[in-house]
Amino acid sequence: MLTSFLAQAMVTTHATLATASASTSGSGFFQFWDRLWLREPAMTEAAKDTDYMFMWLWWFCVIWFVGLMGIMAYFCIKYRRKPGKIAERSPSHHLGIELAWTIIPTLFLVWIFFKGFWGYMEKMVPTGTAMELKLTGYKWSWNMEYPNGLVVDRGFMNTSFGAELVPVFYVPADMPITLRMNSNDVMHSFWVPDFRIKQDLMPNRYTGMTFTAIGPKDGEPGIHTHPMNEEEAKRNRSPGATPGAPSASRIAPEFIPELAGVKYTDHWVFCAEYCGTYHSEMAAVIRVVSKEDFNKWLVWAAKKSTPTDPVEWGKLLYKGKCASCHTVDGGKNTGPTWQNLYGYEHDYTDGSKIVADDNHIVESIRNPGKRVRVGYANNMNAFSEAQLNPKQTEAIISYMKSLSDKAPKVTPSEGDKPAEKSKEQASAK
């Protein structure tokens, strides 16, 4: 009787899950529990299997728990202590019963183990040819490198959650994707709750996982559209005003003419392995678009990733790599502000006093511990050439110059010249 009831619960749950992603109306009772437990519907095929397993286990646990507690409550009421009446004699050992309640749970556990193992392999081993994306975690954000060499960091899409910039990673739907993951510093863990998957990132080896996202299909809840013009983008980005968005958790893109009208779904990424101060701000968004729209985005992104104006480029790099510790408006943070840093004389903890010029800035990027500003702790990570190449450091210097009143003025229109000049100087030496 128990097994037939279980089987029935299983079938019903499975059917509910299948319809849950297709439409919002479904059988109310199971729908309610599915959403209470899992909030958003599963957004990959493997995740649907996980949901099925999870809800199956939930109803399995409910049946066992209610059964056990029911028996306990019945005994407690029936055999409560009554004056002058002592406990009745009853056997204190019964081999048959004890074997039964050892073997029956064991059989269930064997089935649960295998079902879980198969579902796990689906999320770890890619099927068919998969696109490989290289994910890097660091304190406290993520970078994604696409097959064409494009690197998306948290400044790239200029998208923020609250006041924090979060990286937005575009991925194509209905296409297997594997992530090759690695950490720059401590351990992190890449968790996409909507995909029901997570995996740790380590500093000393690559780890990986795989998923095939379900595409944004018309009429489904959670579908958003890239804004068609500036006004719409502004409206979308004002707090709580995104159409169809339950809350500020949906991060609206800015107006991008090349991508106007592109449909997408957003999925949170959280860091799930404790990594220090900003662990809870180490979020990202995976944005699923159709394959055609993904190509549109790649074309646009490739053009954007190497701006012709070094100040703009420096600003982009600043947002992605430096903004968590340095301000540009004179405000206090972990590191010194960049406002009026370039060209001024500063005190350093080793007693020296030098003017912050190009050479000093490059030194501070490559070897930050060599000279530390008075009043600040030595806690900046060094950036190697692999993390910031010489062209990128040039761009950052140009941006710093634009923030200082003692530097040669770099206006956007004549921005290329000083950068070019300093490069020539560098090559002349």
Partner: protein, 589 residues
């Protein structure tokens, strides 16, 4: 505390109870500080552990307070809202300050509760007091080692408190590398905290060793292995784990200190080490130790359920063997803490092994519930706590299934689902069992009864508060809330708020218990020798026991749970009318 019992209850005994002061104030203090009496050491452990429980509880409330609201930064003004915890320490906390305060708070909560409360709680306090009495002996096998273990515990705890006073550490109680080798350099406070855990390990080993030898060598005449109370079996099983597993964490933590001090390069990848190796070492101890935490609790539940329903425990041998079974299997399941950082093959093997441990645990629950059948169940506070244990521990055990299952664990790993799960097991299990045990043996410890109705009311508050606090966290976890986050997305706000209100209720419940206990010490009714009608040897001893436990060495003539054939010692037959045809012996002396 001792002075409250100055009047003593030494009635018909030649020597006074162990609580009777030896002289003036300083003489008494010196007597307690140098005592080798297992009862006094047990009570000193109890006081020290309850104090640390209070500190850990404050840290828990601090964590819940911070999580009442998500932290938000106004994009225009830059104003930060929702840093409810940091607001106590800074006038205008920055994001980094707010997060660091939270990170330190949850690390303190975890480290204190695991290393200083739950691991030593039942064995070191209740176990120390009761194990020799239940075995009918005068003391543990090595009384001086026993006193040493208490001093080591206090020194270890002082190291931890020192680290807290120096600003606290923010690694989480697991000290995962390479984060833990790259943080907390100020004043060497992280090294202090790690040393605290290292030192506490020795206290654990000494207690475990003492118990194993005591059980093997000092059982009363007539007491075979299967005449021991199940509490003794459980403490014995957990002592084996303590002795075998604790050295591993000792070595691991020492290596971590070497790594930080001399940069030897074992765990830090930038020096050629492997952080996953640290995880293996760490969990090779810390998984078995989960059973050090829960097994003594299971022992208490076995005893309390039997005594308060006056019923022979169902499947005595099954419960005893399953304790040993759990102890054995606990050594080969550590990998389930690392499903997201191991190879697929290793994950599959550890997932399979993990399900093995579910079976003896389930068997115990079935046995406990069957014990109630045809019993005479009294709803005293210990019994109600035992029933609460069964309720909460069943939830904790069952929610282990989706965590052991690989596909669902990949979603739930390091989420609030895990947080809820281990609180249901550790707090709903061990702490509720400790509460059951404390009330059950309170009359024996101090010779005073507590106010039953007040205690029952507090138990109800604890039960409601606990479920409000932690059941919501199951939903949070599976909905996508990661562990150790100072802030969260808006969707999680209402569940977090319910959880925080629940935690305040839980705190109130425990505060209530504290007052009930203090009231009992000051003005409680004098306890009879055997208030619940138990059959084990501690109920033969006086309440509180005399200095050497018994007036003359007890001889065991009946099993620990033979309620059908034995009149409990200290009870009059008309209170306990056993039919003449059942009667075998009338008490043991």
């Amino acid at each position: 505390m001792a002075s409250a019992h100055a009047q003593g209850h030494s009635h018909d005994h030649a020597h006074g109870s162990y609580l009777t002061p030896k002289g003036g104030f300083w003489t008494t203090v010196l007597d307690w500080a140098t005592t080798v009496d297992h009862k006094k050491i047990g009570m000193m452990y109890l006081v020290a552990i309850l104090f640390m429980f209070f500190l850990g509880g404050l840290a828990a409330l601090a964590v819940r307070t911070e999580l009442f609201q998500p932290v938000r930064v106004d994009a225009q003004t830059g104003a930060i809202t929702g840093q409810l915890l940091a607001n106590w320490f800074y006038a205008e906390p920055t994001m980094a300050q707010g997060n660091d305060v939270y990170n330190i708070a949850f690390t303190l909560h975890g480290a204190i509760m695991v290393f200083m409360v739950i691991v030593p709680s039942i064995p070191a306090s209740l176990g120390n007091f009761l194990l020799p009495i239940m075995l009918g002996t005068k003391d543990v096998a090595f009384p001086r080692l026993n006193l040493l273990s208490w001093y080591i515990y206090v020194i270890g705890s002082m190291f931890a408190v020192g680290a807290i006073l120096l600003g606290g550490v923010d690694t989480g109680w697991t000290f995962y590398t390479p984060y833990s080798t790259s943080t907390g350099n100020e004043f060497g406070k992280l090294t202090l905290m790690v040393m605290a855990a290292f030192i506490l390990g020795f206290s654990s080993i000494l207690t475990g060793l003492n118990f194993i030898v005591t059980v093997h060598k000092l059982r009363a005449p007539g007491m075979g292995w299967f005449d021991m109370p199940l509490f003794v079996w459980a403490v014995y099983s957990s002592a084996i784990i303590q002795v075998l597993a604790t050295p591993v964490i000792g070595i691991t933590l020492l290596l971590l200190v070497f790594e930080r001090t001399f940069n030897v390069g074992i765990f830090d990848p930038s020096l050629g080490g492997d952080p996953v190796l640290y995880q293996h070492f760490f969990w090779f101890y810390s998984h078995p130790v989960v059973y050090v935490m829960i097994l003594p609790g299971m022992g208490i539940i076995s005893d309390v359920l039997a005594v308060h329903s006056h019923k022979k425990i169902f499947g005595y041998r099954a419960i005893a063997y399953s304790s040993l079974g759990i102890a054995a299997v606990s050594f080969i399941v550590w990998g389930h803490h690392m499903f997201t950082s191991m190879s697929e093959l290793a994950s599959a093997v550890f997932s399979g092994l993990t399900f093995l441990v579910a079976i003896p645990t389930a068997v115990k629950v079935f046995n406990w519930i069957s014990t109630l059948y045809k019993g005479s169940i009294a709803f005293t506070t210990p019994m109600v706590y035992a029933l609460i244990f069964l309720f909460l521990f069943s939830i904790g055990g069952l929610t282990g299934l989706p965590l052991g299952t690989l596909s669902t664990d990949l979603h739930l790993h390091d989420s609030y689902f895990v947080v809820a799960h281990f609180h249901y097991v550790m707090m709903g299990g061990t702490i509720m069992a400790l509460m059951a045990g404390l009330h059950h043996w309170w009359p024996k410890f101090f010779g005073r009864m507590y106010n039953e109705n007040a205690a029952l009311f507090c138990a109800l508050i604890v039960f409601v508060g606990f479920n409000l606090t932690f059941f919501t966290q199951f939903y949070l976890g599976s909905q996508g809330m990661p562990r150790r986050y100072a802030s969260y997305i808006d969707e999680f706000t209402s569940l977090h708020q319910i959880s925080t209100y629940g935690s305040y209720l839980l705190g109130l419940g425990f505060l209530g218990h504290l007052f009930v206990f203090l009231h009992s010490l000051a003005a409680g009714r004098v306890a009879p020798q055997n208030p619940w009608g138990g059959l084990t040897l501690e109920w033969v001893a006086a309440s509180p026991p005399v200095e050497h436990n018994f007036d003359h060495d007890p001889v065991v003539k009946h099993g620990p749970y033979d309620f059908e054939t034995t009149v409990p010692p200290g009870w009059t037959p008309d209170e306990y009318p056993i039919p003449a045809e059942n009667l075998r012996t009338a008490g043991s002396h």
